[in-house]
């Protein structure tokens, strides 16, 4: 029996408070398998490389087609989605770690709520509710819609935060994705009605100023979102907003 095996070294953690440890696994190879199918194999048969029975490795997943962002983890040193991480393209042993920027819940599951908090801070939504029917909003030019669609591909996966040297426990930087979202919502004709509020949120603590231009985010983004262009664009917008706020201008 000469079955081809895939070796995985997984950084595990039993609870948010306990300390991490590494465990090695060997799973049978199947053509076209991805990291998630390897993890499913471990779940099916939770025995480590030494042959000891262990607890199944926990991870998060949902869409399995790189649009939800739930299955992000650090694979061989780089943060990416485990659903699109194909075993054939990875160097073995495959090293899986949770994303270090976020608090670990268990094994490869992290708590990404700092991203949700950042979205609340920058008002990452289009307000359309009123006490009466407000009717249709202004039309969006098709060319602009196509352009904005690229920015809307953000799935809050957390990879840009993991790649950013300025997102860490010493700073409360909201992260590249949030800055790009301000650009997206400020472009929308209805969203633009609240653009000052979003820019002022960006000018707050942990906002755009914590960007150090390492430009890792744009390289790491799995959706190819022009994050650094968004950051530079919002740098310009906040510069203008700063002058408006200080010297005064009609609030039009």
């Amino acid at each position: 029996m000469s079955e081809k095996m895939v070796t995985l070294i997984i950084t595990r953690q039993d609870s948010p408070e306990s300390s991490p440890y590494q465990e090695e696994f060997k799973v049978p190879y199947r053509p076209g398998m991805n990291v998630i199918s390897a993890l499913m194999e471990i779940r099916r048969n939770p025995v480590n490389a030494k042959g000891e029975k262990t607890t199944p490795v926990q991870w998060e997943m949902s869409c399995l087609e790189e649009v939800c962002g739930a299955c992000s983890m650090v694979i061989n040193g780089k943060a990416m989605q485990s659903c699109t991480a194909l075993v054939d393209k990875l160097e073995q042993p495959i090293r899986l770690e949770p994303m270090s920027t976020f608090p670990v819940v268990r094994d490869l599951i992290v708590d990404r709520s700092r991203m949700f908090d950042a979205m609340k801070r920058i008002k990452a939504w289009i307000p359309i509710d009123g006490t009466y029917d407000l009717g249709p909003g202004p039309r969006m030019p098709e060319r602009q819609r196509q352009w904005a669609y690229e920015l809307s591909k953000c799935m809050t996966c957390g990879v840009c935060l993991e790649a950013c040297p300025n997102v860490n426990d010493r700073s409360d930087f909201i992260g590249p994705f949030a800055i790009s979202l301000v650009r997206l919502y400020n472009t929308h004709p209805t969203g633009a009605m609240h653009k000052e509020e979003r820019l002022q949120a960006l000018m707050g603590e942990g906002g755009i100023e914590d960007c150090g231009n390492s430009q890792n985010c744009v390289q790491a983004c799995p959706k190819g979102i022009p994050l650094t262009t968004s950051i530079a664009s919002m740098n310009r917008a906040t510069t203008i907003q700063m002058f408006k706020d200080f010297f005064g201008s009609d609030k039009l």
Binding site: G77, K78, A163, P165, N166, N168, R170, S171, M203, G204, E205, G207, I208, E209, D210, C211, G212, N213, S214, Q215, N216, Q219, A220, P226, T228, T229, I231, A232, S233, M234, N235, R236, A237, T238, T239, M242
Partner: protein, 202 residues
């Protein structure tokens, strides 16, 4: 309103690095470059600067206050980062790290350089060709000055790049790329001026 102050101080930090500190750096290197034309020319220029009216006001306003703010706030920025060049070895990420390393080297170098020259004036010495000749004839000091001057010039050149990005002057990737080449030329040109000036004193 600490939040807005954070934004303003970081923008101010970036601006001060270019104006006045960058402008002063350029002026300082140019005057030093005069040493290549002989001790007399340099002494004349140094003498002219030492006898400028309201020199203390100029020095504090253009050099010391901006430098202290830029330096102290810069240390805070430098130690906030968690460098990850080994995992993400992209060009800009390397520059990001070097910007912080060169900033710390520059701060140490400038503190010592000001002590060794400007502060000594208060103890009765004069800044002239001989003073610099005495310092730089020592190979140890020469090495220290070469490293320090290159660190300062790198920090300024690369800082010029991030200044243009931070203020939203260069937004597109193409303009940022072009700026990388422009700042590279600035770095090479100033390094040439700085090195020729240093070696003119020995």
């Amino acid at each position: 309103m600490t939040a807005t102050r954070d934004f303003a101080s970081r923008r101010l930090h970036s601006l001060l690095g270019v104006i006045p500190l960058g402008v002063f750096l350029f002026q300082h290197l140019t005057v030093n470059y005069l040493a290549t034309r002989g001790p007399d020319v340099f002494n004349k220029a140094a003498n002219f600067i030492s006898n400028l009216p309201y020199l203390y006001v100029l020095e504090w306003l253009i050099i010391y206050i901006p430098l202290l703010f830029h330096g102290i706030y810069g240390v805070y920025i430098a130690f906030q980062a968690k460098n990850n060049v080994t995992r993400y070895g992209f060009f800009r990420n390397v520059m990001f790290m070097l910007q912080r390393v060169s900033g710390i080297i520059a701060l140490i170098f400038l503190a010592w350089h000001i002590w060794q020259t400007r502060v000594q004036v208060m103890f009765g010495q004069t800044v002239n060709y001989d003073m610099m000749h005495n310092i730089l004839s020592n190979p140890g000091w020469m090495t220290f000055y070469i490293i320090g001057v290159i660190a300062v010039i790198f920090h300024f050149s690369n800082g010029l790049w991030s200044f243009c990005v931070s203020f939203g002057i260069t937004v597109t990737p193409r303009s940022q790329q072009a700026l990388t080449y422009v700042t590279l030329i600035v770095f090479l040109a100033l390094t040439y001026i700085g090195m020729r000036a240093l070696f003119a004193f020995v």
